[in-house]
Amino acid sequence: MAKIDLSVTPVRDANELLRQFGAEGVDVEVLNPDARHHIGVGLTHPINVHIRGSAGYFCAGLTDGPRFTVDNNVGWGVGDNMLNGSIVVNGNASAIPGVAIRGAEIVVKGNIGSRAGQVMKAGTLLACGNANFMAGYMMYGGRLIILGHSGEKVGQDMTGGNIYVAGKLGEMGTDAMLTDLPANERDEILAFLDKYQIPFKGSFQKIVNAGKKLRYPKTEPRRRAIPFFESFADNAYWNAKVQEDIHVKSQIGRYRIRGYGAARPLPHISDIAFKKDILPAIGTDPDVLSKVKMDTEIGGRSGANPLKLSMPVMIAPMSYGALSKSAKLALAIASRLSGISENTGEGGMSKEQRQEAGQLIYQCLAGRLGWNIHDMQQANGLEIYISQGAKPGLGGQLMAKKVTPEIARIRGIPAGIDLRSPSRHPDVLGADDLVIKVEEFREATGYRIPVSVKLGAGRVRDDIKIAWKDGFDFVELDGMQGSTGAAGNEVLEFVGIPTLSAIQEARDALSEVGGLDMPIVLMGGIKDGIDAVKALALGAHAVALGTSAIIAGGCIACLQCHVGTCVTGIATQDPEHEKRYNVPVEAQNIHRFLESVRWQIAAITHALGYSDPHQVSRDDLVALTPEAAAITRLPYHPEYRERAQDLRKAS
């Protein structure tokens, strides 16, 4: 048995050593742990690790296979997201023990803190003592055994899985209920207790999901979208869209749901123009691509291997689930062909997607859907999702029609529910927690992979300072024009701030704190190379394209993504519909679109007299509308609009 002494070896080195011992199959004893955070994080070999003392946050987190024993207590999130293996804690566990586990066995001999087993998908969490409030909060599967008292709100908003309580039952959580305990289940519990040599005499009460909140009670009548100009542009107060909304809501009694992002007009990048008249120069040089340097590295700020993009463009995060596997594949292929990065979005990483994408960012959401150590380790970037521009403050939403058995499997949830993902991370309640979370990710991946944060634009000025302070390698900043597969219409239209406002606030805030070294990837309604260059000039380091890439790949913008029977096979999990999507053809279409974006970036940069789009600055821009001028403080020159029109007439 090997020994690692944490009084002399930093945790970071210790975790590297643990992985080496793991690879060699050598058991390890950890001395003087002194409640340090992240002990054993990222270990994926079935060795025994004995921690002689107490461990801090995320002990044995993001692991698969090892068997941990902790002599004393553990901090927050013991066994976070553990796939297989076991942890025996001889003392007490702090909050969220067994958070997001996917098969592990965690035994706590003492008491456990609040929200035990939050968003767990499979496996067993056993507390020999009492649990604190909200045990089994939002659990999707597995079992939670409490030999002592349950605490209040047990089973709060659980979706699946079982909770067994031997002690006193506290107040039942929302949408949880008591049910009969079958004899075989009782036998299985007793067998588990035997396995860990825990003496027990007594009986259990079983708590399961009551199923009242898993599906919307009334189906929303589906309507094809009213043309936007009838809804917004004619400045009529009681317009057709308002009337339709009222009529529909008066039938279903709740907010309406649809796909896409804010549909009404907003101040946008298109309200900005280039100061120099570049129209005459466009197309005069047949070979602009070779004259403009576009290679963009991003994510190396703290020593990780940066993403190497052939241009300052990424594919925006979109999930397998919201999109079909075929659509995700086409995006992955196109991103590889164009030398840029793809992003998994919320739904976990599929094998095919990993194979096809050259560089892949792996997104971690509050529900930890599809999240696991192996995919983390084969990602090129890790991203903590805080929110998205389309629906900041709201979790992901995937209607039952799209929660197929395969989607459910990859996400680790029951099939056929209206999935409304949690919007608050179990282990991130504030900026300080976030620092520890980021560090856990870095520990799990040996500090090799950049860690970014995805932020829906709201209080950008405050939020981005925290992101900077927490040491993220870059920020994906998403304005309210960003799209989604399903969200409440009101949130889509009225929560968050426009992309243009977001980049301005971000830049202002980072300037204030000297944080401009943290790159911003701007997204939310970026549609072409023009938007990209303007975004760069306004302070972004790169942009991400989502909706526009989907449209390039065949989307017709009908806004019915949430329904699940997408006519083009993009936003569906129905095989009959998905087969309509021709992956090789659409991959080429998306690739050509990305190349056209590249060409546009090159042509504009060249026409402005630069050799790298990052050289374009605010000095090259003017505002065409009073709103854009007030937001960006760029000079207000509405006459530039006429200039363009005169030119058009002349040509």
């Binding site: 094809r224 979208a225 043309p227 936007f228 100009f229 917004f232 009681w238 009337q243 339709e244 009222i246 809501k249 008066s250 039938q251 009694g253 907010y255 896409y260 992002g261 549909a263 007009p265 907003l266 101040p267 309200d271 197309g283 900041p392 403050g393 709201l394 979790g395 949690p422 919007s423 900026a431 976030l434 932020l455 829906g456 405050d462 024009q481 409440g488 949130v491 239209e493 009225f494 968050g496 301005q504 072409d528 023009i530 449209i551 017709i556 913008a557 009908c558 329904v563 997408c566 519909h577 279409n589 042509a603 065409l624 509308t625 009073p626 709103e627 007030a630 937001i631 509405p638 363009a644």
Partner: protein, 850 residues
């Protein structure tokens, strides 16, 4: 009709107003759909498909026939270039656009006529040939007021439509239908049948008689194969053969017939031959492969379905006949280098000769035009009339030409396009314009809403029922049966409606189509890339021009992210209960007001609902049998009602002090609009009033006051400024009325300082009110329970929306939404609400101009 229209009592009643018909050449949103662009005559297919779904067949008929005088014919035999262009082709097959046209024409074609147009011009035009090109031009010119004389060598008009297409595909009655419509519509067209150019009339005669002459003589004659032995009497040309058949002959033919060629004539010839007495076997010999064959796929498949064998990659080299036996000697081919037309030329495979036994060979390898008369005048170039595409003129300045005779064999719809084109130049010539604007196919839209069928994404493409040869083949029964109503409607529902504007201003049709083009253009195509980029560089119109009103729509809420603890809007509880002056308890911060004009039937439903959802109402009269708290709206001097929970005074002519008597145990309030505030608020505070209704409408006491104009939101801003200035913010509760439509609006008005919002129009619409040109209408098609459910539902929905908004901002109580949670996205709204512009310098509120 029973398709999957949303038929539950709910949504069928939704009749949002339609946009008025507009000429889209002026409409910046209009981008023609791919099918319309693919149609040579620019048929507005998306509109007629939309009309079919709406069962507006007369409108569909108008859209179909607007640019196509042979719509009935085209409904059956157009080669439909629109269909391969259909965007749905790539998913589960294109819309059956042609079948849908046929459906409409079968329904209305016979007796639906276009109004006659009169001759108004003194010049006349002579047209030679009454085929699709000639007659289309004739119609355009007649519509422009010219008298048109059409000279046709056969005994009836129609050209190749009559003589080239057999009756099993195009029954004579269908042709007759189009002709009747055309000639009734254009009495100025004089048709002269049995008059052949060069025989019965000369070009010189025509030039003398008419101000202009248009030659649309067709390519009437089959080309020979140019091989040995083709003079055999059993070798005939395809168009000649079809002409005989279409004249009514049904000759007994040999058992085995071979047709050479792969075009539409070959298809018609082989299928016609198969239907002749004596024929047992028909084969088609084509020199290229199945990928290259130009015949329309549907016809090819039908020919094969009728047991006709297609022999690909085979070229005839000789017609062999010996001892009364006949055979077509062929060689195999393979594809060689591309020829001048871009198609790969077949080359023969040495040593692959073989003989195909047959009793007859039909050559369908191309057609040509012939005219000794025109040849003599030097107007021919080989087998075509020498014609300049850019002016449609021949070498004779008075003589124009169009159609197959001028540009080679093509389709009916191309011939019609030629006709339109030629008519444009002939008309310009007659108008004395020497350098006319170039012709362009018009793309018009009729702005039909998209089909509201929930299964539009699911319905598969359905073909018409295929009947094959039928019991008596030589009688030429029709090969297909027109859609029934249900099939037609479902097929129409499938349309993507590429023409219709999207629901997203950010991803408009224009943007979407630009992205489509980018996705289909390689970067090596610098010209196209430049063109797209230049187009995309053109600035968009200002979305918020000078006249843009302030609106709740232009306020956004700021979400909690990192700097505030995120609340889970799907799960974490959020309080929506509130009260007015501590006395009127509300489960939700919404009351009803401004609904005194509700009809009796709706009032009953409203009363039930309000009690059930824990809301209250502010009206002049109480609602029948309602347990919900009633705030009585009355004018000074009105009599307080003991059944009310309070009195709210309204002064229709603006605020002035009045004597106020507070009722014991009741609350007393006052309505104030913007102009009243400076006096009304001090008055209210002085007299200890507990509530004030901030009226952003045209006057809460009126009939549907929210229809009286855009809401005046500044009343909220100013009221808050006044009470803050007086340091009395906590001493009076504000209820805002005017343009509240959703829970989001409620969340915003609470953020702006009100305690609750009052809904009038929104409630009226939930109760079944429908907006129309004359205001709000109600119908007796709902039970009181339905109305009550709907009223309760709208309040529940608004409550859910308000609480989602609160939670998104990180609040667990709707009452806690603050001004700090709001930002404006327009300057107008920033001013009117006193809320900072999102992204602008910290703390910079745009002040009102005054």
């Amino acid at each position: 009709m029973s398709t999957n229209v949303i038929t539950v009592y709910d949504i069928n009643r939704v009749r949002p107003p339609k946009a008025p018909a507009r000429d889209d050449t002026q409409d910046p949103h209009f981008v023609p759909a791919p099918c319309q662009v693919a149609c040579p005559v620019g048929t507005d297919a998306p509109s007629y498909i939309g009309y079919i779904w709406e069962e507006k067949f007369a409108e569909a008929f108008e859209a179909i026939t607007a640019t196509n005088p042979f719509s009935s014919i085209c409904g059956r035999v157009c080669d439909a270039p629109c269909e391969p262009a259909c965007r749905r082709t790539e998913s589960d097959g294109p819309l059956a656009i042609r079948n849908l046209k046929r459906y409409v024409m079968d329904k209305l074609g016979k007796d639906h006529h276009l109004p006659p147009v009169q001759v108004t011009r003194k010049e006349s035009v002579g047209i030679v040939g009454a085929g699709p090109a000639g007659l289309t031009a004739a119609q355009d010119l007649a519509e422009a007021g010219f008298e048109v004389h059409v000279y046709e060598m056969m005994d009836k008009p129609g050209g190749m439509m009559v003589w080239g297409i057999p009756g099993f595909r195009l029954p004579p009655g269908i042709i007759e239908e189009d002709m009747q419509r055309l000639f009734n519509h254009c009495p100025g067209i004089k048709l002269h049948c049995g008059v052949a150019l060069g025989k019965d009339v000369t070009l010189e005669d025509l030039k003398k008689k008419h101000a202009a002459v248009l030659l649309t003589i067709g390519s009437w004659w089959g080309k020979p194969m140019g091989i040995k032995g083709e003079n055999n009497p059993n070798v005939v040309d395809g168009v000649g053969f079809l002409r005989r058949i279409n004249a009514g002959e049904r000759p007994t033919l040999p058992e085995k017939v071979i047709v050479v060629g792969g075009g539409d004539v070959a298809m018609d010839a082989c299928r016609a031959a198969l239907r002749m007495p004596g024929v047992k076997e028909v084969k088609v010999v084509y020199r290229r492969g199945p990928k290259e064959i130009p015949a329309r796929k549907e016809e090819l498949h039908q020919a094969i379905a009728e047991n006709i064998e297609v022999i690909y990659n085979t070229q005839p080299v000789e017609v062999v006949s010996a001892g009364g036996k006949m055979a077509l000697r062929c060689v195999e081919t393979r594809l060689g280098a591309p020829g001048p037309d871009g198609r790969r030329k077949p080359e023969t495979v040495p040593g692959s000769e073989r003989d195909l036994d047959c009793g007859m060979v039909i050559m369908a390898v191309g057609q040509k035009a012939e005219s000794a008369e025109l040849d003599g005048k030097g107007l021919m170039a080989g087998d075509r009339i020498k014609t300049d595409w850019n002016s449609m003129r021949t070498d004779d300045p008075q003589v124009f030409a169009a159609g197959d005779g001028a540009f080679g064999g093509s389709t009916i719809v191309m011939a019609m396009m030629h006709g339109h084109r030629a008519a444009h130049y002939v008309k310009s010539h007659l108008d004395g314009i020497s350098d006319p604007l170039p012709y362009r196919t018009p793309y018009r839209t009729r702005r039909v809403p998209a089909a509201q069928d929930i299964n539009w994404e699911i319905f598969p493409r359905r073909d018409q029922t295929f009947n094959g040869l039928g019991a008596n083949p030589s009688a030429f029964p029709e090969i297909e049966t027109t859609y029934d109503d249900k099939t037609a409607k479902e097929e129409a529902a499938r349309c993507y409606r590429c023409d219709a504007e999207t629901g997203s201003s950010d991803y408009s049709v224009k943007t979407r189509e630009d992205i489509f083009v980018m996705a289909r253009t390689p970067t090596t195509d610098v010209r196209t890339q430049s063109a797209i980029l230049q187009k995309r560089l053109a600035p968009k119109a200002n979305p918020f021009p000078e006249n843009h009103h302030a609106s709740f729509d232009d306020l956004v809420l700021l979400p909690a992210n990192l700097s505030r603890l995120v609340i889970d809007p799907y799960r974490d509880a959020c309080n929506t209960a509130t009260d007015i002056a501590g006395k009127v308890k509300l489960d939700i911060p919404v009351i009803a007001a401004g609904v005194d004009a509700l009809p009796t039937e709706a009032r009953a439903g409203l009363g039930m609902a309000l009690a059930n959802v824990g809301s209250a109402y502010l009206t002049r009269e109480p609602l029948p049998h309602s347990k919900a708290p009633w705030l009585q709206l009355l004018e000074p001097g009105g009599i307080p009602n003991a059944g009310a929970v309070g009195q709210v005074y309204v002064l229709p002519r603006g605020f002035q002090s009045f004597k106020i008597e507070k009722q014991p145990g009741m609350i007393t309030g006052l309505v104030a609009s913007s102009a009243d505030l400076e006096k009304a608020i001090p008055f209210a505070l002085e007299h200890g009033l507990e509530m004030m209704v901030l009226d952003g409408s045209s006057g809460i006491g009126g009939q549907w006051p929210e229809l009286g104009g855009y809401p005046d939101f500044s009343v909220l801003r100013d009221a808050m400024r006044i009470v803050r200035r007086m340091n009395r913010e906590e001493d009076i509760d504000f209820v805002y009325f005017g343009g509240v439509r959703s829970g989001t609006d409620v969340a915003k008005l609470i953020g702006l300082g009100a305690k609750a919002g009052a809904i009038g129009m929104t409630m009226a619409m939930a109760l079944g009110g429908e907006m129309g040109p004359g205001g709000l209408s109600f119908f007796g098609d709902r039970s009181p329970e339905e109305r009550s459910d709907a009223a309760a539902s709208i309040i529940s929905a608004m409550s859910a929306e308000a609480s989602i908004m609160a939670r998104c901002t990180g609040k667990t109580d709707v009452r806690n939404i603050e001004p700090e949670d709001l930002r404006a996205i327009t300057l107008a709204s920033s001013r009117a609400f006193g809320v900072p512009l999102a992204g602008a310098k910290r703390g910079s509120v745009i002040e009102a101009a005054e």
